[in-house]
């Protein structure tokens, strides 16, 4: 039996234009199509694979506005068993620390959690810190950036992969928190049967007050705020090197001129 919580987030579709709201520089969630973040689909897939091997229950936990309900339904239609949805206007503008606190409380409402699975970073904010902060708050071992996960008895083993350190092998006893990267698996598509079943699965709706966090959250209490932003500059045309026997030298010269080597 492995009881798993998967953290899921609804994000603007990477296919549509993403922008910040003019007033307070928070993400304009109405401006773009919203989808379940792809990395979360992989987190759910991993949870389902572990559940299918060891039995147990998969609960998705989501902090986000009401329309995040669509992302939760997608997770349930893939095969998760139930959901906890924290939705509250007061959370508008919450930063990484606040969001982690809310998540910690929300995860606390689920009984007997053995494993928490998150994506390593969301495709909108890209802070990538929530899994680590949450593990600290909950006092759990954190096994982040996993590209492979095995659960055996009371332990979880992870192949961790980062650009700086390459591959390291981590092991912890349960309960623990892991975050997964995009190499972890190929997520399944929901099926129409899954869509129909999702309709009947329980979704518990909670507010900040339900979690005892009234007055502590939201843009006004955030430790970080975005003061200004600018669209990224258009890509400049690349420089083309024709190889007339000295291609390698020219490439090296170019890289040196850019201070890359």
């Amino acid at each position: 039996m492995t009881n798993i919580v998967v953290l899921v987030k609804q994000v603007p579709d990477t296919y549509s234009e993403r922008k910040l709201a003019a007033g307070d520089n928070t993400l304009d969630r109405e401006a773009a199509d919203a989808v379940l973040d792809e990395i979360n689909e992989r987190a759910i897939e991993e949870a389902l694979v572990i559940k299918e091997a060891n039995e147990g229950e998969v609960t998705v936990v989501c902090v986000g506005p009401d329309r995040a309900n669509d992302a939760i339904r997608k997770a349930l239609s893939m095969g998760a068993d139930k959901a906890v949805h924290v939705s509250d206007e007061a959370l508008h503008g919450a930063d990484i620390l606040q969001t982690s606190k809310v998540l910690a409380k929300a995860v606390g409402t689920v009984e007997g959690v053995d494993l928490i699975i998150a994506g390593n970073e969301a495709s909108d904010g890209r802070g990538g810190a929530v899994p680590a902060v949450l593990a600290e708050l909950l006092g759990l071992p954190q096994l982040t950036h996993a590209r492979k996960v095995t659960v055996e008895g009371g332990t979880v083993k992870v192949e961790r992969e980062t650009a700086d350190e390459g591959i390291t092998h981590l092991e912890a006893s349960l309960p623990a928190l892991i975050s997964v990267n995009e190499k972890i698996n190929e997520p399944r598509y929901p099926s129409f049967k899954g869509i129909m079943a999702a309709k009947k699965k329980p979704v518990e709706k909670l507010t900040a007050a339900d979690l005892g966090l009234d007055g502590e959250v939201g843009l006004a209490n955030a430790a970080s705020t975005v003061l200004e932003s600018a669209p990224k500059p258009p890509r400049e045309a690349g420089q083309r090197v024709d190889d007339e026997g000295d291609g390698g030298v020219k490439v090296a010269e170019y890289l040196a001129s850019q201070k890359l080597i």
Binding site: R73, Y189, F192, I195, M196
Partner: protein
């Protein structure tokens, strides 16, 4: 721009979302390559099957999705937008299950429908013959009773999924006259049944179309669907629903051509401005959008009648006629909007134009649709 849809409930919306995701990630990226190589997308049908999309309009107790035609047809339309051959294949598969679901005995239904709707199997529908096209009642493939079996001899023509399907809903002659046609549920691996090499077609080249050759093929008599002599009635009522599928596919194809044309017209400049700003192009695009949306409304009206148990055969023929003619016009105009680029295989619109021709021909040519409509006007 994806089609804006009015759907009856949240499950239908989620189903359309799922379909769009599969269409965008698994179908559309491979369509041009498979069509050029004349390669049959068998794996893609399996994926649709696993996702529950090969059984949508049939009852749940046989493993179907129990969705109304209003929803099923819009799923089908989305798939045809991504890849016409797969859309047509899904429509034909759905039609191939119709005879058993509507006319089979309870024992036959329990025995075969769960696997036919299970997603792994693919079906075919075999009515036409080379001498019996529009005049389907002239078919001459003969089934003669021999003990517990029928011995089937003859050749079916133009069979979609020929050689690929796991079973064929086949119309055969058991006696003379239009009352002498019967329907058999024929397993694809029946000894004595072979598929001829695929036809070399103008379009829909990823879909196989072959003759089916029956050479004394032994088909157990418990595979007779309905009574002997009921075959033509079964065939025609299958087509009344099947034509709605073809209408939806045609609308999907036209939508794909419209999207491509609008995208191109926005970024192509001549005489110093994007061509979409010229009234000559703008009005062409507006007419294309009007054709797509009115055709969609037409098939949806027929579908809603069917879902409510009202007569819908005339509306189904109207929808097939309107939608397939619209698709032919819209895809031709899309080539016009793209100019020389549209005439090359670097862009998909020439393929769309080739694919749009055959829906005007199969499941009853558009001349035959007019005959069906007119007959109702006369007799109504």
């Amino acid at each position: 721009m994806p089609a804006e849809r009015l759907l009856p409930d949240t499950e239908s919306q989620d189903l359309i979302e799922l379909t769009r995701e599969i269409a965008k990630q698994e179908l559309e990226p491979h369509a041009a390559e498979y069509e050029a190589a004349e390669r049959f997308p068998r794996e893609q049908f399996r994926l649709l099957g696993r996702s529950g999309l090969l059984s949508l309009p049939y009852p749940e107790h046989w493993g179907g999705g129990a969705v109304p035609y209003e929803t099923y047809l819009q799923v089908l339309e989305e798939i045809a937008t991504a890849w016409m051959s797969v859309g047509v294949g899904l429509s034909v598969h759905t039609m191939s299950c119709y005879a058993l679901a509507e006319y089979g005995s309870p024992e036959q239904q329990e025995r075969w429908l769960p696997e036919m709707l299970g997603g792994e199997l693919l079906g075919g529908y075999a009515l036409s013959e080379s001498q019996a096209g529009s005049d389907a009642a002239a078919l001459s493939t003969r089934a003669v009773r021999d003990g517990a079996d029928y011995l089937v001899t003859g050749a079916k023509a133009w069979i979609t999924h020929g050689g690929e399907a796991d079973y064929y809903t086949t119309m055969v002659r058991t006696a003379e006259g239009s009352e002498g046609i019967s329907c058999l549920h024929v397993a694809g691996d029946t000894p004595g049944l072979t598929a001829a090499p695929p036809e070399k077609k103008m379009g829909l080249t990823g879909s196989t179309t072959t003759q089916l050759l029956f050479d004394g093929a032994r088909v157990p008599a418990d595979r007779l669907v309905g009574a002997e002599g009921q075959g033509l009635k079964i065939a025609l009522s299958s087509l009344a629903s099947g034509r709605l599928g073809i209408a939806a596919c045609a609308v999907g194809l036209a939508q794909a051509a419209l999207d491509e044309a609008v995208g191109y017209a926005k970024q192509r400049s001549q005489f110093g401005s994007p061509i979409i700003e010229f009234q000559g192009i703008e009005f062409l695009l507006a007419d294309m959008a009007a054709a797509v949306e009115s055709a969609r409304a037409t098939y949806l009206d027929a579908a809603r009648r069917r879902d409510r148990g009202m007569p819908f055969a005339r509306q189904s023929s109207v929808a097939k006629l309107i939608a397939t003619d619209a698709a032919m016009r819209v895809t031709t105009d899309a080539v016009q909007v793209l100019g020389g680029a549209g005439y090359t295989r670097d862009f998909p619109v020439e393929r769309y134009m080739r694919e749009a021709k055959v829906p005007q021909i199969f499941e009853g040519t558009n001349q035959i649709q007019r005959m069906v409509i007119a007959r109702q006007l006369r007799n109504g």
